[in-house]
């Protein structure tokens, strides 16, 4: 099967999980993505409260946006002792706050530091792709973030 999403063409039989593809070469480090994310999640602004990161390297010569990959082989999901982390029907890796006990094992085993304990609830939180319409992607003025959705079993309805 061949399908096209934005500018990327993928030839693959298997369905892929939706994810945000980052283009560090286009990132200017402005953090507008993080401001949009924190606003969507918390109703206020602070990049530290967002669920993506920008790692500034070498006197700001490089800005590396880092997002949750919604991994095919998600370590966070595997290490969770209470099965609070699961992939939903759209392929998005989600955390059930009711089940989460705040043990932070998922935090420990995420290789890109994209799960944190929420500062208020002390439960694990991560990017869950904003109900299928990521605020960060919409806000980026430079095209450094791209939302990739493949042939998933169930299409995401935007709300």
């Amino acid at each position: 099967m061949i399908f096209t999403c934005h500018k990327i063409t993928i030839d693959k039989e298997a369905a892929i999980n939706p994810f945000i593809h980052t283009h560090f070469d286009k990132c200017t480090g402005c953090s507008i993505c993080q401001l949009a994310c924190s606003m969507d999640l918390t109703g206020g602004y602070n990049p530290r409260r967002s669920r993506l990161d920008i790692r500034h390297k070498n006197e700001h010569l490089f800005h590396m946006p880092v997002v949750c990959s919604q991994c095919e082989n998600a370590y966070c999901m595997q290490v969770c002792p209470v099965n609070a982390i699961a992939r939903d029907t759209h392929g998005i890796v989600k955390i059930d706050a009711e089940k989460c006990i705040g043990c932070a094992l998922c935090v420990q085993y995420c290789p890109v530091d994209m799960i944190h304990l929420d500062i208020d609830t002390q439960k694990a939180v991560k990017c869950e792709l904003c109900r299928g319409n990521p605020a960060c992607v919409a806000a980026c003025p430079n095209g450094a973030l791209e939302f990739i959705t493949g042939p998933v079993k169930e299409p995401i309805t935007h709300d």
Binding site: S38, G43, Y45, H60, P141
Partner: protein, 609 residues
């Protein structure tokens, strides 16, 4: 009521190590909005006349505005203090992410007084404030200090403002470095920090900045973004920052060349965007929350300075450290500017001083240092002087480290004729002889001769202000324009806006952003009104600090020497031109003929006479 203010200042007295919280009262918010307004009011109330700028009584204020830290595009912060260079009001603005972090830590500003008995840095982690020993950091450059504090606190996301050796050595044009390639650059805020034995302020904030009306705020942000994207000026800045101004200024006869003797430079293209794009730039490095990204970032890949990461050589530095010194190798200019940034010197004042020294040497007023050929075009001489100034080395270093006004007075003879400054602040890189309104802006700037307090150049070159034709060379019709620009700039410096944002974002939109953020009724006029209040308050501050109104003047070169080149060749701003502009300006401001705000004017603006 939710508003975008943190509603408190953090006050730190370094003399006794005490830390306290000062609430931000409604009256301050209503009358002064934030940023420059807050700083002007706090400084006027807290720094009595005669205060030594480098004494413990001087206040060092890091101020944010109600829109700092929000998604309102292109917002910054400012440092406000009494300048050791001009002995007047100083507001110095910085982009990057330091100002937003102050807000996220839960403060509208940080008020620092006193003097620590040993080198220290302040570590602000939300509510937790710690004064830590910085003895080991003393002597380290701006970048090294930043990285070592992050290592010590084990978090490279902390935001830091710090000084280099020049600030420690109290050079009166030392700057404060704010998170890589951003500086509170002009008129010596870094020396004030050094005088307090304060090496750095490190901040980590986890609080949220909430706006009063999120939906209305999102709409206003969308309008602002759309205005930015539709502005040709903004598109040009996004492509090439202010580097494109080098060729423009040379073509229009505004570029300083050889200590402002000339106004054009035949190698301008090498210093401007074309030269920089070829030799330096790799990508864009935007300030926090800014969609424009006027700063290009890159590296010197080849030659003597290879391996060096460099930010864009913005116009002022490219001109004052490049064409002004007769240097056209942009890699060498990037190297000199970076040296200033690392040692913590304002590259504008420094470039101006080196140009002064080169001309003074040419005219036999000072001698070249041993082994150095102090001539225009000599990169090694410029490098030598930068290092000598930062460390106040015996000879020209210690002399120039006093600033151009004091250095010229000390040399004596005809040296003051070569000193380009107004009220002690070295002249920015826009020679005013072809645009007399810019001259008036320098004459009347509240922090001394500054281009950012009323930038008339685009209007004068277009020969039009608010639908009326103006002649760039004439002294007529300039006062109203300069006053309007000064008021609006001061008013929006309360938010704290970036100057470039105003090229796209309209006053109505700033008012909508402010209203939605704070829940206060605001219209577009509030900025000019607040700006006028601030401008009179800073004038009162300066007069109380002993400013002589006769210093509302221009450097001799612009008054006595007609331009030898460029489109305005043969023109100067004569004594009588200055008198005409000054009189019209004082009258329109409601100031007496000695430049003092009248009681009636102060009452109208609600300022205590």
């Amino acid at each position: 009521m939710t508003d975008a203010y943190a509603n408190k200042f953090l006050t730190i007295d370094l003399s006794n190590g005490s830390v306290s919280i000062l609430p931000v009262c409604d009256e301050l918010k209503n009358r002064y909005i934030g940023g420059k307004g807050f700083g002007a009011k706090l400084l006027t109330d807290g720094v009595p006349s005669g205060t030594d700028p480098l004494g413990p009584q001087n206040m060092l204020l890091f101020m944010t505005g109600p829109l700092t830290g929000t998604s309102a595009p292109a917002m910054r912060g400012c440092v406000v203090t009494k300048s050791p260079l001009t002995h007047l009001f100083l507001d110095s603005y910085f982009g990057g992410s330091f100002a937003a972090e102050i807000k996220y830590a839960g403060y509208d500003g940080i008020i620092i007084t006193g003097r620590a008995d040993r080198p220290v840095y302040v570590w602000i982690d939300d509510d937790r404030v710690e004064i830590r020993d910085a003895s080991d950091l003393w002597g380290a450059d701006i970048l090294e200090t930043n990285l070592r504090i992050k290592a010590e606190l084990a978090d490279d996301t902390i935001k830091i403002a710090d000084i280099g050796p020049a600030g420690e050595n109290l050079v009166p044009f030392a700057l404060i470095g704010c998170e890589f390639n951003r500086q509170a650059g002009r008129a010596g805020a870094g020396a004030v920090m050094g005088s307090k034995n304060l090496k750095a302020v490190a901040v980590r904030g986890t609080r949220l900045v909430r706006v009063n009306d999120p939906k209305g705020f999102a709409r206003a942000c969308a309008t602002a973004l759309s205005e930015l994207s539709q502005s040709p000026d903004i598109r040009a800045l996004a492509l090439a920052g202010t580097a494109a101004s080098v060729e423009f200024a040379s073509e229009t006869g505004l570029l300083p060349h050889k200590n402002f003797t000339y106004s054009t430079f035949d190698k301008a293209a090498k210093l401007g965007d074309k030269g920089q794009a070829k030799h330096l730039w790799l990508g864009t490095n935007a300030c926090m929350g800014c969609p424009i990204g006027c700063a290009k970032i890159g590296a010197v890949r080849t030659g003597k300075y290879k391996g060096m990461v460099t930010d864009i050589v913005e116009y002022e530095s490219a001109a004052l450290m490049g064409s002004n010194l007769g240097i056209s190798d942009v890699r060498a200019v990037a190297h000199l500017v970076k040296l200033c940034d690392l040692l913590g010197l304002d590259s504008m004042s420094c470039g101006s001083l080196i140009g002064f020294a080169m001309e003074a040497c040419q005219k036999g007023l000072i001698a070249s240092p041993p082994g150095i050929d102090l001539n225009f075009g000599n990169v090694a001489a410029a490098q030598h002087l930068i290092q000598a100034i930062a460390f106040r080395k015996d000879g020209p270093g210690a002399l120039l480290a006093k600033g151009v006004r004091a250095a010229a007075e000390e040399i004596g003879g005809s040296a003051p004729d070569l000193a380009l400054h107004t009220k002690g602040l070295e002249t920015p890189a826009w020679g005013p002889r072809g645009v007399s309104g810019m001259g008036l802006a320098y004459m009347t700037g509240d922090r001394g001769g500054c281009h950012q307090r009323g930038f008339t150049v685009p209007y004068e070159l277009a020969e039009e202000w608010e639908g009326k034709k103006i002649d760039p060379l004439s002294p007529q019709g300039k006062a109203d324009m300069v006053i309007a620009l000064q008021n609006y700039s001061a008013g929006t410096d309360t938010l704290v806006k970036c100057d470039f944002g105003t090229f796209g974002i309209k006053a109505d939109t700033y008012a909508d952003l402010l209203a939605a953020a704070t829940g206060r009724q605001k219209n577009a006029d509030c900025f000019s009104q607040t700006g006028e209040r601030i401008w009179n308050l800073t004038r009162q501050f300066n007069l109380a600090q002993g400013m002589d109104p006769c210093s509302d003047t221009l450097p001799r070169r612009f008054v006595q020497e007609p331009l030898p080149d460029g489109p305005a060749k043969g023109h100067k701003i004569s004594e009588s031109d200055m008198a005409i502009m000054r009189k019209a300006y004082y009258t329109a401001r409601g100031w007496d003929n000695m430049g003092k705000p009248t009681t009636k004017t102060l009452r109208r603006l609600g300022i205590e006479p």
